[in-house]
Symmetry: C2
Subunit: 330 residues, 2 copies
Amino acid sequence: MSKQVARHDLLERVTEYIGDDLLKVEQIFSDELATDHEFVADIQYHVSRFRGKRLRPILMLLTAKALGEVKHDHMVLAAVVEMIHTATLVHDDVLDDAATRRHVATVNSRWNNETSVLYGDYLFTHAFHLASSLDSTLGCRLIGQATNVVCVGELSQINERGNSELSEEHYLRIIDQKTAELCALSCRLGALFGDADEDIVNSMDCYGRSLGIAFQIADDILDVIGEEEDMGKTLGSDLQKQKLTLPLIRLLEQLGEAEAAQVREILAQPNEETGAALKPYFARCEAIEYAHHRAIEFAQEARQQIEKLPDSEATQILADVAEFAVNRNF
Amino acid sequence: MSKQVARHDLLERVTEYIGDDLLKVEQIFSDELATDHEFVADIQYHVSRFRGKRLRPILMLLTAKALGEVKHDHMVLAAVVEMIHTATLVHDDVLDDAATRRHVATVNSRWNNETSVLYGDYLFTHAFHLASSLDSTLGCRLIGQATNVVCVGELSQINERGNSELSEEHYLRIIDQKTAELCALSCRLGALFGDADEDIVNSMDCYGRSLGIAFQIADDILDVIGEEEDMGKTLGSDLQKQKLTLPLIRLLEQLGEAEAAQVREILAQPNEETGAALKPYFARCEAIEYAHHRAIEFAQEARQQIEKLPDSEATQILADVAEFAVNRNF
């Protein structure tokens, strides 16, 4: 219960500190997507209801504040990165066949696959269009580079589906690409467009990357053990899609050969009972705890990167975001 | 038969005239997509086998030649536009569930929906990344704008699916957005990066737009009456997906109320026999001929736009491309 309050406190501090800037980012975001086409506006409104924590804009703006002030370019870039993130969420829903995200039916289940694919494209191209409104091509280039990496991560994940031999190292590489890259980019752009020195830019990139990895590991743990009602989205989808995540990788490493073979068999034929079928195996070893421990390590790495920043409310919140990343609903 | 030879002649003239530049565009295209990831390279190689006529790069390079010379920026932009076009084709295959494109199994049928969606995204983001390698944001901005329009066209098409009351005007607006926009953009960029005057830039935009519309109407006619073996792709998919195209719009206008109602019933329950079931209705009125006539009108409009250009082999070929657009396989 106290953890929930901590989350609420954190949100309140963020809102108090950079709420006005976040609203401006929202305005830029919706101005870019404004449309006369009623059916596009319809999808838009619907998607706006399941947009999430705004983690990436928050990271960009906090970084800017920690190193100086929030400029117009920061707000444009924050809207761009959030738009790209939203595009990947919309396309992920096609991939996952997810029926619910943030308590709202996904585009995919409300309309159809076609609409999801095209609306995701619409978000991608508007994001790059918005990025090109800046004076230099630097933003476009860095955003293009990072999004290239995200796509490789997503393709790798599909390619490794059903591979029950996936190593922790390979898993970490994939989540680095598909999730952490945009977090790293947000912090990098925050620092770069705040005219920070190269080593600070690199530290902020590392902060964002470690934080992103910590967040994703925590998400992957919740997908295995969380309750759908708390999370507001379809859980267990990693199991259904035969995506091996850290808790499972560790579980397979820890079990004896015979039991590991049983687990592999369960994983190979996913159904509604898969989560329940795995429970006794998880109870027998500390795979969840191990994954949580790794997430905490990455969150610590993130915090170390910002130790050299001047002490400020921004820096404090960045440290607390890293704490929050690994202490959500468990 | 003579029409087939004319096509071959046209290709030969294009190759002789701008073949070297087209090869450089290909090189830029594949350099941008080069990857160490074997499974990405696999998809890449596969997609490269069904890439098509390279119409958009050809339009851009011919425009550049007609107004001066082909510069490095032209070749980069040609690769960008072709990459975006390829991305839309890959995503179209998800939408169409098309099994074959250019005699090769589509990404979608060879791999799966997920891979198609993600590989399309990979192409989109690499395209924008490549565009950002230019000195100014102008290319990024125009490409972003045009791609925004393409997405709206595609979304409109989905939204109008099953609407058997679609008007010719609305149909033309949709194909203007989803197809003609990138042709117009190619010619616009060709002129703009060749330092042409504003009125020439606009004329070239109009040439590309009219040509694109002519091409799409011709394609839509072929989808209704063509033979799959000639076309090398799955036909009749417009009928299966309940997309109303110009031949059908005209057919419904020309038939009496009773027969139009019969056709609407046939269209509302698409199956393998739909094409055959429509044949007697098409035989009774001149809907195909009308659509062909409209395509020819747009091709003529295209040709008129380039009358003011200095006479050259480039201008000649641009005129012949407009002729070819409406005289393919019928």
